[in-house]
Subunit: 398 residues, 2 copies
C-alpha cells in the first residue's frame, strides 16, 4: 500500500501569493476603471539585456544546425558559464574552483532540493520574517524549525542566539522580505556561531547585485571560515531579470565536509554533484549562453543599468515614505521596502486599505511570519511611471 | 551539529556513464587515428526542428521588449502548452484536464523529485535491468527496493509477482535499456496488480513517440483504472530532440488519491502542485514556446521525420545483428537495441571488445542491473553514416 508523505498535511493550505491574487482579482472585477499598481510580488518588469537576447538568438540558431546542435550538457553546467562565474567571484576577491560552482535553473529549485542532502533529524533555524520557501521545504521533510526574530530593535537583522542549537541555518542578505543587509562583522558572527555548533549555513544571495557599498558583503565567502560551513545560493532572477528565463548557481566549497555515522568524511560538494547528476539534467544550452552574456563586460554594464532603474524607483519610494513619517527598512541595497503599517494597523488590514482605497498591491508582512505582523512589503520592480503614481497616491490620500 | 543524509553512503561511487567515459577517453588518447563510433549514451544527434527554432527565436525577441517580456510564469507551465498537451492526449483517445498536466524541465528531474511525495517506508518495485535513476533516487531516501526480472524468456517484459507487496512501481515502456514494449493486456495486468496492492505506478513514457503500432500503448492511461493508480512521466528529449533544451511533462490525474494517517484523502495532484509551487519556478518561457511548436501540426510532422531517421538507423542495425546471428530485443518501437553478448561474453568484456577491436562504444548491460549481465545496449541515435559504418565493422570483423 503506497503511503504518502504525511508531512504534506502540515503545510498551510493556501499559499500567500494565491491568497493575495484572489483578493486582487476580486477588486479588479469590481473596479475595472481603476488602475491597480502592483508592488506585491517580487517580479521584474524590464526586458532582458540586449547582450543576453543576442547571445540566446545565436544559441537558438546553433540548436537548429547539426554541426552546432547541443544534446545533453554536463549536469553541473557548461564550463564556459562556470568559468565566467569563477571570474565574477574573483573580481570580488573570492577564489573558487569551477567545480565548486553548480549552474541551476534558479535559487528556488536549489533551495528546495538542497534539503535532500540533510538528515531529517536536523534542527532548522530561520529568521522571522522569512521567505516562506525555507520553512515549507523543511515542513515537507518533517524537520523541527526554530526562529530568530527580526525586530525594529535589531533593524530586522537577527543575530545568533547561542542558547539555540541549530544544525542548518538559512540566511538571506540583502533580505527578502525586509531588504536589510548584514555587515561583514555580523556575517562573521553568524559564521562563528555555525562553526561552534557544527552547523551548515544556507546563504541566499539572490539580491547581492543590489549592493553598492563595498563594505556590505555580497557573498558569505568574504567571511573567514565560511568555506567550511556554508553553501551559497545565487540567482540571475533579480540580477539580470531572469525570473522567466530561469538560471542561478549554487556554490558548494570543497572545504565543506561533515562526518558520516562511521566517521568517514562526507563532502557536501560530492553529495551535491551526485544529487544533481542523478535527479537533474542541467539548464538548457540556450539559457546558459544567455547567462554567460550576463557576466560579460557589456552584459554587466547593461544589467547595472537595469538595477539602477529599480534603485531609483526605491529612492522615490523611500522619499515619499519618509515624508509621510512612515517607518521603513530596506530599499537601499534591495528592491524591497519593509514598512511599518501606519496607525498600528495589522498587515492584512493595511494591505486591504492600500488595495481598496489606493488601488496599490503590497504583500502583508504576516505572510512572512509572526514578526511580519504590523509590516508590509512593497517592491521597486515596477515601471517608473507606476512607481511615481503610486507614491503620489500615498502622498495625497494616505 | 548538521547531520548529512547517510543514505548517500549507500550509493555506488562511480556512475555508469562516468566509468564508460573514462574508458573511452583512455582509448581515444591512445588511438587518435581511429574513428570512434558512439552508440552508448542515449543522446540525440539531429538538430531541433525548424518550427521549434522559429518559435524560440520569436520568444527570445519577445523577452527583449518591455511589452512582451515575461517574468515569472505559472510553476505548472503556461496554459498554451498545457492545452497543446491536452489535445495531444485527446488525439490518442485519452481525456485529461489541463490541470492534470505539469510542465517540467524533463522526465529525469520529475522522476527524481516525485519521490518527495512518498513516505520512506514504501517498498519500491523496479524491473531488472533498469534505468539507474529509479534505483539511485530511492537509495537516497533509504527505501527498500525489490526487483522483477527481465529475461529472454519473458522478452524482457517482466510481469507482476503477487508474492511481492509493492507500494511504488516503476515501469518504462518502450523500455530503457531493452527497447521492449508492453502490450495493452500486459499493462492492464500491471494496473490490476497495482490496484490490488493499493500501489502507485510511476510510468515512464519517455520513448512513447517511437511507437508506430496502434495496438502498442503510448500512455498508461489507455488502460482501465490507471487514472486511480498511476502517474505518467513524459519527455521531449527523444520525441523532439530536447536533450539539451530540457522540457517534459508529468500527468497526475485527479482520481489519484491515497488516505492520510487520519483517514482524510490525500490528492497526489494537489501534493505535486504544492511541491512544484514550493520547490520549482517553472520552465523558461522561451523553452515552453519551443515545446508548444513540437505539438503543432507542422512540428509533429518535423519530429516524426526525425524519429523516422532514427527508426531507419535501428532497422539497419537489426538487419546486421540478425545476419550475424546475434540475439537482440527492442529496436522496433525504440532507439535502443538490447543484444545478447556473443560467445557467452560478459557485458563489460564485450564492451571492451567492441571498443578496442571495432572502436564502437556501447553500454554494458551490467550497468543496468544483475539481469543486464551478458547483454549490451546500442543506440540508434547516431548519424546514418556512422550507423552504417559501425554495422559494416560488425559485419566484417566480429
Amino acid at each position: 500500500m503506497a503511503v504518502m508523505n504525511q508531512n504534506y498535511c502540515n503545510l498551510k493550505e493556501s499559499y500567500l501569493f494565491s491568497q493575495i491574487a484572489a483578493k486582487v482579482n476580486a477588486f479588479v472585477e469590481k473596479h475595472r476603471e481603476k488602475k491597480v499598481i502592483r508592488m506585491g510580488i517580487g517580479d521584474v518588469t524590464l526586458p532582458l539585456a540586449p547582450s543576453v537576447v543576442a547571445a540566446m538568438q545565436k544559441a537558438v540558431a546553433e540548436m537548429g544546425v547539426k554541426d552546432t546542435f547541443k544534446g545533453y550538457g554536463p549536469e553541473q553546467g557548461y564550463a564556459f558559464l562556470r568559468q565566467a562565474l569563477v571570474k565574477y567571484y574573483d573580481n570580488q576577491g573570492i577564489g573558487l574552483a569551477a567545480d565548486e560552482i553548480f549552474v541551476s535553473d534558479g535559487a528556488k529549485s536549489d533551495c528546495g532540493n538542497i534539503t535532500d542532502l540533510f538528515d531529517n533529524v536536523n534542527t532548522i533555524l530561520v529568521p522571522d520574517p522569512v521567505y516562506p520557501v525555507y520553512v515549507d521545504t523543511n515542513i515537507m521533510c518533517g524537520r523541527k524549525i526554530v526562529y530568530v526574530d527580526g525586530l525594529p530593535e535589531n533593524n530586522f537583522l537577527p543575530m545568533p542566539d547561542y542558547a539555540i542549537n541549530a544544525d542548518v541555518i538559512y540566511l538571506c542578505s540583502p533580505n527578502n522580505p525586509t531588504g536589510a543587509a548584514y555587515t561583514k562583522e555580523q556575517l562573521q558572527a553568524w559564521v562563528d556561531y555555525a562553526l561552534s555548533k557544527d552547523a551548515v549555513i544556507l546563504y541566499d544571495a539572490a539580491y547581492e547585485a543590489f549592493v553598492t557599498d563595498p563594505d556590505i558583503p555580497r557573498s558569505i565567502f568574504c567571511v573567514e571560515g565560511a568555506k567550511t560551513c556554508a553553501i551559497e545560493l545565487c540567482s540571475l532572477s533579480k540580477t539580470a531579470g531572469f525570473t522567466g528565463t530561469r538560471c542561478g548557481y549554487t556554490v558548494v566549497p570543497h572545504d565543506l565536509k561533515r562526518k558520516a555515522g562511521n566517521g568517514a568524511d562526507m563532502s557536501l560538494n560530492k553529495m551535491w554533484l551526485r544529487r544533481q547528476t542523478t535527479k537533474f539534467n542541467g539548464v538548457p544550452y540556450i539559457i546558459q549562453r544567455g547567462a554567460e552574456a550576463v557576466f560579460s563586460t557589456q552584459g554587466q554594464a547593461e544589467c547595472q543599468e537595469m538595477l539602477d532603474y529599480y534603485r531609483e524607483n526605491a529612492r522615490i519610494m523611500m522619499k515619499t515614505l519618509a515624508q509621510k513619517n512612515i517607518r521603513f527598512f530596506g530599499g537601499v541595497y534591495s528592491p524591497y521596502i519593509w514598512l511599518q503599517c501606519p496607525e498600528g494597523m495589522g498587515s492584512w488590514e493595511f494591505f486591504d486599505y492600500l488595495l481598496e482605497k489606493l488601488a496599490i498591491v503590497g504583500t502583508p508582512g504576516a505572510g512572512f511570519g509572526k514578526r511580519g505582523e504590523g509590516y508590509l512589503r512593497l517592491t521597486a520592480f515596477g515601471s517608473r511611471e507606476a512607481t511615481i503614481e503610486a507614491m503620489s497616491r500615498i502622498e495625497e490620500k494616505l
